[in-house]
């Protein structure tokens, strides 16, 4: 599926760019975006090492096991495929906590760590598991306590009450998380019965 989306975006982009007479901008975007991708990766390197290092300590000390035990009731519903004491659970919980507090710098490395752990449970290494899909959808629905960036932009633009949107953000986030999890569970069940369409 990613193959077609990727191919489509680039080819449609080039064709539209030629028709719009913006082929120079498109060429520039190709070069700049590839540079930016590496910039982002390098920027991640530091925090990534920091958090895998800290998670290593948390695992050795038994903290991860404790968190896992506490979170088991919810996680058993969301991730029934993960064995009870697997380190993936610790990384998933830590990632969700970091996301909740808006700690993007910690959330991404912990999320990547969780994906690596989930991959160890994966029998088909090139194919996403149900647990991975659930985790991804929970991450993209962005459950967070305070949307700090949006608030600061609103304040900078002279809003009378920059934080008034916190409540509406919560409602919208919870809606999308619930719908997302239902979608994952339903699609997962459909896919289990065979291949409704080839992806």
């Amino acid at each position: 599926m990613l193959n077609y989306i990727w191919f489509g975006m680039i080819v449609v982009g080039f064709v539209v760019g030629i028709m719009n007479g913006r082929i120079d901008e498109v060429t520039k975007a190709v070069i700049e975006s590839s540079g930016k991708a590496i910039e982002i990766s390098i920027g991640l390197l530091g925090v990534m090492c920091l958090w895998t290092g800290l998670m290593g300590i948390a695992e050795k000390s038994g903290l991860v096991e404790l968190i896992t035990k506490l979170a088991r009731p919810i996680l058993r519903f969301l991730f029934p495929q993960i064995p009870a004491k697997h380190p993936a659970i610790g990384a998933i919980v830590m990632n969700l906590v970091a996301n909740f507090f808006g700690l993007g710098n910690a959330a991404t490395p912990l999320g990547l760590k969780a994906m690596n752990e989930l991959q160890k449970l994966n029998p088909r290494k090139d194919t996403a598991t149900d647990a991975m899909s659930t985790f991804l959808v929970m991450n993209t629905s962005a459950i967070q306590l305070i949307p700090a960036t949006v608030i600061s932009i609103r304040a900078a633009l002279g809003s009378a009450n920059p934080t008034e949107i916190v409540g509406t953000v919560w409602v919208a986030t919870v809606c999308s998380a619930v719908v997302g999890i239902i979608a994952v569970k339903l699609l997962g069940a459909i896919f289990k019965r065979g291949k409704p369409w080839k992806l």
Binding site: W6, A37, K113, N116, K125, A160, G180, V184
Partner: protein
Amino acid sequence: METIKIVSSYALPAIILVILCIGLYKEVKVYDIFVESAKEGITTVIKIMPSLVGLLVAIGVFRASGALDLLIFALRPVTDFIGIPNEAVPLAMMRPISGSASLALISDIMKVHGPDSFIGRVVSTMMGSTETTFYTLALYFGAAGIKKIRYTLVAAMIADFSSILASVWICTLVFGRS
């Protein structure tokens, strides 16, 4: 609101302190284990580089060519029918693709319409309740080396779409359309 802000800024130091203190209490060689485990971070980042380059190039081409604007224009009848305000449609399309471009968009929209207008509140809510889905997918699946993502993108897009609808709905309900 103040207390939430305080919790937010103390969360990170608190998490680090708890990890270190419990580690020491359980007689873990904290520094040695830290250095040993931190190596894992380097391999993960190197693994995500290729997928990130691929994705960002595709997004860059799609945006710079004007194809995204075309898509927004083509979807206008649908978005009108659902009741998404015209001004918010570009954000709804941009949000899953690019975080920085979305930030630029909402600042621009709020500069024109004012942050306390209906449009301003809707785009703020949309921005806060969604993530850069494509980027997250590429990053996380890239790190694990997954090629077949099955239904993940479909489910994530359904979640994004529902948060857009919910944003419009809850802002209408709470603030009224003015």
